[in-house]
């Protein structure tokens, strides 16, 4: 079993790259791999808690909580989040807060890195 670090930079709703990242993390965790998930750019807006699950929109909160339950480590870029009004007091519990070097440190000990850019 290996370690995969995924960087996600796209928004919770829109391109569906965010959906892709969560589904891939889930599938990798199910196969027994260790997964790290880093949010930066527009993805740093996604840890806001209290997202209402409406069927016309992608929904991140439930699947995010579910993959953290499976042991996926999730961290958001603090600067990117607070610039969007998301901070530790209104964020989903369990998401870590750190600077960009968290991502680089996780990459250091990863077998595989999938850096997902986009919006």
């Amino acid at each position: 079993m290996g370690t995969l670090s995924i960087g996600v930079f796209s928004s919770l709703i829109g391109s569906m790259s965010y959906d892709f990242a969560l589904k891939l993390a889930d599938a990798a965790a199910d196969k027994g791999h260790k997964v790290n998930l880093w949010f930066s750019g527009n993805a740093a807006g996604s840890p806001l808690k209290g997202q209402k699950h409406l069927k016309d929109y992608s929904h991140g909160e439930k699947p995010l909580r579910a993959i953290m339950e499976k042991g996926v480590e999730v961290c958001t870029c603090e600067a990117c989040s607070v610039a969007r009004g998301v901070n530790k007091t209104n964020a989903i519990e369990g998401v870590q807060w750190n600077a960009m070097h968290w991502y680089l440190a996780k990459i250091y000990s990863s077998d595989r890195v999938l850096h997902i850019g986009g919006e």
């Binding site: 790259s17 196969k31 595989r112 999938l114 986009g118």
Partner: protein, 98 residues
Amino acid sequence: MKLGVFMSEFRAGSEVLNRLTADKLGVILVGNAVYHAAVKENGQSSSLLDKSANFYALSEDLETRGLSPASIDSRVKVVNYGDVVDLIFNDYEKFAWL
């Protein structure tokens, strides 16, 4: 190197892809890039598929768009999320997302 390139768009990324080379090259079509595998324009398949590479397309993203996995270009292998995990760990070492 063994390079896996995720293509996520239909109308962007081809120029960057064209310049990438690797000992083993895989192109994984996700998101709207699955149209490269499933639609022709003026009767022509996407020129992307002419590149010397192994091609994969994500079944979930084909079906989301109303595209039948049965009707895609024969050069492209249909994979699911679990298969993509295996491609990442077993078949390629470095990755690009375009």
